[in-house]
C-alpha cells in the first residue's frame, strides 16, 4: 500500500479544508491542553491529600503491636531492639521515628478535653510529619527529654490556656493504674485544620515513658521519599520486626485512600467525557469531508485504488489532524502547568477549601503517564472516529460517484 502517497494526500487535504480543520484542530488542542492541565491539578490535589495523610503521624508505613489499632493502650506497647533501624536504602528514606501514643485527658483550670498525647523525638518528628511544617507560637519541643507539652491552638483555646501555663495530664500507665502529671505549655502549633489541633498534643518521649512506667513504644513510623518504595520497605520491616503489624497509610487512613482512588477515577472520567465529546465533532467533520469528496473517492476507485487504501486515506486524515492537535495541545498543556507551577491561590475560598480537604495553594503535579494516557486516548479517538466515515467512503460506488 502506497503509504507515502496516502500520507501526502491526507496532509494536503487537511490544508484544502483549512478553515474547518483549523476549528477542529483548535477544539482538539483545547481539549488536550485542558486534559493535561486538569489531570495535573487533580494529581496535585491527590498528592497533597496523600502527603497530608502520610504527614498526619502515619508515615508511609507504621509498625504497631497486633490489636493496638482497635485498642490503643500502653498495654500494647512493644520494645524496639537497640540496634534497630529500618532496612531501607538512604536514597528511598526520608526518616523514621518511634512514638508513644496514648489517649489522655488534659485538664486546665477551667476545662478538660480528651486528646491523643504523643511522646516524640521532636527532631525526628519534624523530619517526617506535619510538625515539621507548622508555625509554633512559643517554643517547639527542644528534644526527646523535654518534659513540656505542645498543644494545638484550637485545643488551647478550648482549654482556655496559653503558652507558659500549666495543665494536668491524666492517662493510664503501663501497669494499668492511672497516672497524673503537670506539664507546662511550651508552645501552640497552628496546623492546616482545627481537627488536628484539637486531636493531638506532644511531649518529649523519654519523660513521657517515665510517666507511663515503660521503656517501650507504641509505634514506629517510616516516611519514604516515594510511596512506590513501600512494598520493599514493608517486606524488610516485617522481616526485622516479627510478631508486629506493618500497615501502610492506605490501611490507616482509609478515607484518604478512597479519595486518592476517586481522584484516579475523576481523571479517567474527565478524559473519557472530553474525548467522547470530541469524537462526535471529529466524526461529523470527517463525514462532511467524505461526502464532499464522493466524486473524488469514486474517481480514485475507478482508477484502481483498492478499498483498503481508501480506508487508510480517511484514517490517515483523521489521525493527522488528531496528532497535530494532540502535539500542540500537549505543549500548551505543559506550558500551562509551568505557568501555574507556583500553585493556584485558593485562599479566597479558604473555608470551602478546608472543607474539601484542599490546601490554600493548589500546585499542579505532572505525571508523564497521564500525558501518555491523553495521547493514547486521542490516537484511539482518531482511529475510532474515522471508522464510520471510512466505511462510508468505501461504500461509494465509483460509477454512481462519477455520474454526479
Amino acid at each position: 500500500m502506497p503509504l507515502t502517497l496516502l500520507s501526502r494526500l491526507g496532509w494536503r487535504n487537511l490544508w484544502r479544508y483549512r478553515r474547518r480543520n483549523l476549528m477542529l484542530f483548535s477544539a482538539i488542542l483545547v481539549a488536550v491542553a485542558g486534559c493535561v492541565l486538569m489531570s495535573s491539578l487533580i494529581r496535585g490535589y491527590q498528592y497533597d491529600m496523600m502527603d497530608d495523610a502520610i504527614a498526619n503521624l502515619t508515615g508511609n508505613l507504621k509498625v504497631m503491636a497486633p490489636g493496638y489499632r482497635a485498642d490503643p493502650s500502653i498495654a500494647r506497647a512493644f520494645r524496639v531492639p537497640q540496634s534497630f533501624a529500618p532496612d531501607v536504602p538512604p536514597n528511598e528514606l526520608v526518616g523514621w521515628t518511634e512514638r508513644v501514643r496514648v489517649p489522655a485527658v488534659i485538664v486546665s483550670e477551667r476545662e478538660a478535653r480528651g486528646v491523643t498525647l504523643i511522646g516524640v523525638d521532636p527532631a525526628e518528628e519534624r523530619a517526617i510529619s506535619f510538625l515539621g511544617g507548622v508555625a509554633i507560637r512559643g517554643d517547639a519541643l527542644a528534644g526527646p527529654d523535654d518534659g513540656r507539652i505542645l498543644l494545638g491552638q484550637e485545643l488551647a483555646r478550648q482549654l482556655d490556656t496559653d503558652v507558659g501555663r500549666r495543665i494536668v495530664v491524666m492517662t493510664q500507665g503501663a501497669d494499668g493504674r492511672n497516672r497524673e502529671a503537670g506539664f507546662r505549655v511550651a508552645g501552640l502549633y497552628d496546623a492546616a485544620g482545627t481537627a488536628i489541633e484539637k486531636a493531638y498534643a506532644f511531649t518529649g518521649i523519654r519523660p513521657f515513658q517515665k510517666l507511663l512506667g515503660t521503656d517501650a513504644v507504641t509505634e514506629i513510623s517510616v516516611r519514604l521519599k516515594d510511596d512506590r518504595f513501600s512494598a520493599r520497605a514493608d517486606a524488610e520491616l516485617r522481616k526485622d520486626l516479627r510478631g508486629l503489624e506493618v500497615l501502610d497509610w492506605r490501611t490507616l487512613e482509609p478515607q484518604a485512600a478512597a479519595m486518592f482512588q476517586l481522584a484516579d477515577a475523576a481523571i479517567l472520567i474527565w478524559l473519557v467525557v472530553l474525548m467522547l465529546a470530541l469524537a462526535f465533532g471529529l466524526i461529523n467533520t470527517l463525514i462532511t469531508a467524505v461526502l464532499e469528496r464522493v466524486r473524488e473517492f469514486g474517481m480514485l476507485r475507478a482508477l484502481g485504488m483498492r478499498r483498503g487504501a481508501i480506508v487508510v486515506q480517511v484514517v490517515i486524515e483523521s489521525v493527522l489532524i488528531v496528532a497535530s492537535g494532540l502535539v500542540v495541545g500537549i505543549v500548551v498543556g505543559l506550558a500551562l502547568i509551568a505557568y501555574f507551577s507556583n500553585g493556584i491561590d485558593l485562599s479566597r475560598w479558604a473555608e470551602g477549601v478546608e472543607l474539601a480537604g484542599l490546601r490554600n495553594k493548589l500546585v499542579p503535579h505532572l505525571l508523564w503517564s497521564d500525558v501518555a494516557a491523553v495521547g493514547a486516548f486521542a490516537i484511539v479517538l482518531g482511529l475510532f472516529a474515522s471508522a464510520y466515515p471510512a466505511w462510508r467512503a468505501v461504500r461509494i460506488d465509483p460509477l454512481d460517484a462519477l455520474r454526479r
Binding site: P2, L5, L9, R295, L303
Partner: protein
C-alpha cells in the same frame, strides 16, 4: 493478435422503481489492438453503459466481457480494481484530477499505486507531459490550469502507464472546439505513435471524425459499425 476487448451477448438491465430498463441488449463487440473506436448515439442509447462494462466499473446482467485476455466475470472487486489500475487508462468528461496534487503528481499517481520507483515515475511523468506540450505546467495544481490543460494532464495520467486500453467518456464535453481538436490530435498521436487502443463514448461529431471506427448505438443495440475516413487516411 487477439482482440483487446471482446464482448459477447452483453446485456445490462437497470431496475428503477421496479421497472426494468434494458440499457444494453445482446451486444457483440470487439476492439482490435491499436484501434481508435468511437461509441456514439443519442442519450440512453447505451454507449456509456458499454464503456463502463468494458472499463470494469460495472458488471453485465448478461453476457461476458474480456479485456486484454481476461474474462471480467471471473474477477473479484479487488481484482477488477487491479485490472483497472494496470490494463486500463481512463479519461473522464470532468477531467477528475486530484486537486491537491500538481499536474506531475497526478500523472505519477497511478504509477505510485502500481509501485513504480520514484525516479522512474518522475522521469516518465515529465516525459509524457513534455510530449503532450504541457511540461512547463508540471508543478501547477489543477485549479491553476485551463480545462484543456487539465484534460491533457488527464490523458497523460491515463497513458503514462502504457495501458492496453484507453477509455474516454465524453472527453470533449467541457472543451471548446479548438481545444477539442488539439485534444483529438493528441489522442490520435498516442494511438498511432504509441499504439494505444482507444475507445471513446461521445456525442461530438469531431470526435467521431477523428476515430478510425465509428460504432453507433440505439436503444441498447449496435445500430451501425463502420470504418471512418480517418481509417483510410
Amino acid at each position: 493478435m487477439d482482440n483487446v476487448v471482446v464482448c459477447r451477448g452483453l446485456g445490462r438491465v437497470y431496475t428503477n422503481d421496479a421497472v426494468p430498463v434494458h440499457a444494453l441488449q445482446g451486444v457483440d463487440f470487439d476492439v482490435a489492438p491499436g484501434d481508435f473506436v468511437s461509441l456514439s448515439g443519442p442519450s440512453g442509447s447505451g454507449k456509456s453503459t458499454l464503456l463502463n462494462l468494458i472499463g470494469a466499473l460495472d458488471r453485465p446482467t448478461e453476457g461476458r466481457v474480456t479485456v486484454a485476455g481476461v474474462d471480467l466475470a471471473t474477477l473479484s472487486d479487488s481484482q477488477l480494481a487491479d485490472l483497472r489500475l494496470t490494463k486500463i487508462g481512463f479519461v473522464f468528461q470532468a477531467y477528475n484530477l486530484i486537486p491537491v496534487l500538481s499536474a506531475r503528481e497526478n500523472v505519477e499517481f497511478i504509477m505510485q499505486l502500481q509501485g513504480v520507483s520514484a525516479t522512474e515515475r518522475r522521469e516518465r511523468a515529465i516525459e509524457i507531459l513534455d510530449a503532450l506540450g504541457i511540461g512547463e505546467l508540471a508543478e501547477r495544481r489543477p485549479g491553476q490550469l485551463s480545462g484543456g490543460q487539465q484534460q491533457r494532464v488527464a490523458v497523460a495520467r491515463a497513458v503514462v502507464t502504457r495501458p492496453a486500453l484507453l477509455l474516454a467518456d465524453e472527453p470533449s464535453a467541457n472543451l471548446d472546439s479548438k481545444t477539442t481538436e488539439t485534444l483529438l490530435d493528441l489522442l490520435r498521436r498516442i494511438n498511432v505513435e504509441r499504439g494505444v487502443t482507444i475507445v471513446t463514448a461521445t456525442h461530438d461529431p469531431i470526435v467521431i471524425r477523428y476515430a478510425r471506427r465509428s460504432v453507433r448505438l440505439k436503444d441498447g443495440r449496435i445500430d451501425a459499425d463502420e470504418r471512418t475516413a480517418a481509417a483510410t487516411a
